[in-house]
Subunit: 475 residues, 2 copies
């Protein structure tokens, strides 16, 4: 599964499902998608009979010797998920937040764990584990916060490149008193130097940025002094780099920002003043923005990462996703581990639907997000947030094959006397239509249903259920 | 695993975790629990060294030849979960609700599926599958709604008895026009006759009600004519049977009840008038009750099943669990499949915490339920809802061994290069304390972590990870 191994021309045969717009999900029951040696989708055929491999090869010149990967049983291909916001070093803290809310949770759980990434050995264990976890949940692109440590951050980029997972990897910049003395940048100057060092390293291992890219990562306004924020804005501009940070997650945090930055009249204005709102900026949370702030963000072309599991778990609030979408914002989903309690975007698809329903209970039914909309946010929406909307998130000619093969269990006709459910949590009884099968996956599925994952045509994760590719001789 | 096979005296060795009160969770790191041939807990020892089996046997006379079941690795024993409200025939509809809310969802998904249980073959497939599913999630006691069909309802009781899962099994009674002509009781008389037939059958197969018991099940007020409700109230009284129904789930439903029953001034009053509020009554949902209604329910001693996943999924509302608890109500958790999207009580432990946080966002922090409180609702709370508080829900001498062995994964020190996570979703890195291990299970665990399940000392579910019991000769 090494990212550098050559790949063969492959025809992916079977049902495929993807978003064609925010509200429309295409379910093509008999598909054939040809992916070339560069991982680029060369053709997408629909209504292809399952026995027609030879014919498909014949009518696509040069594909006679292509390998074939077929969906087995109750399965389908789905675009890889895009996680637009997560903290890789917090993986071991997943599920630990007890009774805390944002600011005390940082001091209790987050900072001590992140500080320990001064040890490269610890970083290696946790980062390798976490990248495996996110891949196993079908995440083909991930925007990672690392820690303040350059070596550990660079190691995370190495791991993503080696495993073949698309990633934006950010050394965290934080120099204010909010962070404990044992875990912060010494000064604006050292923070700037370290961030630049990590950017240069990541660009050296993947010069074209095809798999891994650096991202300037001022943690959030309260973690940075004004001159540090300005330095990060300049750094991103000078190096033409993405930016990620947090915004307006929690009411106490917003009050704190107002106190720390009296010269600016809003949280958004703080970032804007320091040159941090660009079309390549990912703003996580955006729960409590004012209409004026949203207008500024829209005008700057910055993107929003909605993190529903986290917002619920640490009682931050319900981000008004319907409003953001209606206003034309670009929105994707983020797991926000470990504020979020799960590294799976599929779990966050569900959580984003639940959050929208809680919002609907307080406002109007218009707030509700549909299954189709939530899946769009998890794929095409997320792709647009990380600037990859032309490359990933759907199955179109010219896009790259970032995909997962979903396989659903089959309920035994004789019931299940021995209680073994090795195929995972979804029971398909046989009478469901395709829309219902997809819904069953969305509402009950987990990593056991993601049996194979590809990035740019390369197999980057598989379970024992995946049968592999068949050679040209076995149609 | 047959429910009738004899069991051996067994010592369960290793950490155990259970609720000692609503707010306190005991974590005993080195426990030894002796369970006799009747499945009753004979002794509970704490602070026992792992190598002290012989000594434990010596100081408990008559236990020299007991078998030993040890927790392996990062595991612990936990009481079996109590599901106080679920609909077994709706299992195949799990995850299917699309854009509906309660009343149209019933017509679109629920009634057609339930009607098909006229076929015993279909009922057999689905019920066997579902009982296996609930057992696999650690549910040792379950209050099931079946359908209106006597043979299929009785079959469900047969399956629970054969598998050894404690169950309350209810033939659904519904005779009003709300239900379609193709799926309702013909009249009050036929409904009464059929419910009585099912009660008699279930009592014939388990006369002492040690595993399965009947439960009178008027679906909910809108499904029944007033004389039908009265007949059900009388039936429950005459046969001294439990009662289960729904109450105050959704605002439209409440308005509908007010219209249908103009003689009563509240939903609660409807049930009370017809003799349906007894100490053996389980009321599911209770989302929008007035203070007066809550006072009546409290006075009658009826119990409440909180179904958070369902309430969120079909946008019913946030049940005020803190208020209910403060007022002294008895509250347990229900999965409410398929309004609820998951047959797992552990998922509903999480969902009940999330719902409480959404309520806290609208009211005050006091609404938040802690991890400890949610686990109490899932075990001792649920046990009290179904009238088994003296028998199950915790590990105390004289209670019965309804338990699950939880086993958490161990994160590989070398990371996870091949992406295989066969031990399930929880990563334990080795530095976590016991409270943190339990939290990781609560917030990230799933059925893969429930490696063995017992009811009354009998093994009723196991995965390949469970090592089984050791005989007396191998201490």
């Amino acid at each position: 599964m090494a990212a550098s191994a050559p790949i063969s021309k492959t025809i992916y045969l079977g049902p495929f499902v993807h978003s064609t717009s925010l509200t429309e999900l295409e379910i093509s029951e008999q598909g054939a998608i040809g992916v070339d040696e560069k991982g680029v989708i060369a053709f997408v055929e629909r209504d292809v009979a399952h026995d027609g491999v030879d014919e498909i090869k014949r009518r696509n010149q040069g594909w006679e010797n292509a390998e074939v990967v077929s969906v087995e049983g109750n399965g389908f291909f789905f675009p890889g998920f895009i996680d637009t916001h997560t903290h890789a070093p917090q993986h071991p803290n997943t599920g630990l937040f007890g009774k805390t809310t944002l600011l005390d949770w940082l001091q209790t759980y987050t900072f001590p764990m992140e500080a320990s990434f001064a040890s490269l050995q610890k970083a290696s264990t946790i980062y390798r584990n976490f990248v495996s976890r996110t891949l196993s949940h079908g995440t083909t692109t991930c925007a990672y916060y690392a820690t303040i440590h350059v070596p550990a951050t660079n190691l995370l980029a190495d791991i993503c490149l080696a495993r073949g997972q698309r990633a934006l990897v950010g050394r965290v910049c934080m120099n204010s008193d909010l962070s404990p003395e044992y875990y912060r940048d010494e000064s604006t100057e050292t923070g700037l130097r370290d961030s630049l060092e990590s950017i240069n390293y990541i660009r050296s291992i993947d010069p074209a940025g095809e798999i891994v890219k650096p991202i300037v990562t001022p943690r959030f306004a309260p973690s940075c002094t004004p001159d540090c924020l300005s330095a990060m804005g300049r750094l991103a501009k000078e190096t033409d780099t993405h930016i990620q940070t947090h915004i307006s997650e929690n009411v106490n945090e917003i009050a704190f920002v107002a106190e720390m930055f009296p010269a600016q009249d809003s949280y958004t204005h703080v970032y804007d003043t320091h040159g941090l709102l660009t079309p390549k900026t990912i703003l996580a949370h955006a729960v409590h923005l004012s209409p004026e702030e949203r207008a500024t963000i829209k005008q700057r072309g910055s993107k929003i990462s909605h993190c529903p599991a986290s917002n619920t778990a640490i009682t931050s609030g319900c981000a008004p996703v319907r409003t953001l979408l209606d206003e034309g914002h670009t929105v994707g989903l983020g797991t926000d581990v470990s504020g979020g309690f799960h590294p799976s975007i599929l779990e966050n698809v569900r959580q984003c639907i639940w959050v929208s329903r809680h919002l609907a209970l307080q406002t109007s039914d218009a707030a509700k997000l549909s299954t189709e909309e939530a899946l769009y946010l998890a794929t095409r929406g997320g792709a647009a947030v990380v600037g990859l909307e032309d490359k990933v998130g759907a199955f179109e000619v010219g896009m790259e094959w970032d995909a997962q093969m979903i396989s659903l269990g089959t309920a035994n006709e004789e019931g299940c006397p021995d209680g073994a459910f090795e195929d995972g949590p979804v029971d398909v009884f046989g009478w469901e239509n395709w829309t219902e099968k997809v819904e069953k996956w969305v509402y009950s599925g987990d990593d056991r249903n993601t049996v194979a994952v590809w990035v740019r045509g390369r197999l980057v994760h598989r379970t024992g259920k995946f049968m592999g590719a068949r050679g040209a001789a076995t149609p």
